[in-house]
Symmetry: C2
Subunit: 115 residues, 2 copies
């Protein structure tokens, strides 16, 4: 997985455990594609200070994931659910029973919320 994608996902999961500034800078750098210079200018700090905030924030996120593994579990779960959705889709394609179709439709909608 690319680093920027990974950091974005980790921010979504653990962002509330970062400081407000760390989350803001990581977001600007990885999601809004701002350069170190732009972030430095916006925050009236040096580029090195921006670099330090990013490094510290990333390290905190990686450390949390190493201990709690929520991203890993979430991705495994999404893969499994996608597999289940595909199976149910196959089932729906072959069934002509209206009642069965209705239940499958409901179930697939519910599961889609988790992917």
């Amino acid at each position: 997985m690319e680093k920027n994608v990974k950091v974005s996902i980790l921010c979504e999961i653990y962002g509330k455990l970062l400081t407000e500034k760390q989350l803001e800078v990581l977001n600007d750098y990885y999601n809004n594609d701002l350069s170190l210079s732009e972030i430095a200018e916006n925050n009236h700090i040096t580029r090195q200070a921006v670099r330090d905030i990013i490094k510290k924030g990333e390290n905190k996120l990686f450390e949390l994931e190493e201990k709690l593994l929520f991203m890993e579990k979430k991705m495994e779960q999404e893969k499994l659910l996608q597999d289940v959705l595909n199976e149910l889709s196959k089932l729906q394609d072959t069934s002509s029973d209206k009642k069965v179709e209705k239940i499958l439709d409901h179930v697939r909608k519910e599961l889609s919320c988790l992917v």
Copy 2:
């Protein structure tokens, strides 16, 4: 939810972010039903010190859940999956198609891993 059940679940989710001693004492108190006195004796500390470790550990767990809501999300998800499993079970009961039965059986097994 009863407090001891809640603390046990939170320990499972966030335990790795507690100190080793906090996790051990919370586990002894809530899961192994040891008294404050027994834990104090085993650890050569006072009952008050045990109380402090428990309080600090619990506060850390509650604070993490307040920010990350993993327990809440996990329980909502389990409820939804249980609902889906019940729906699929109904479907399986009404179907006589062997192929359909096989797919449903596979799908239900996969989803059961997540509950």
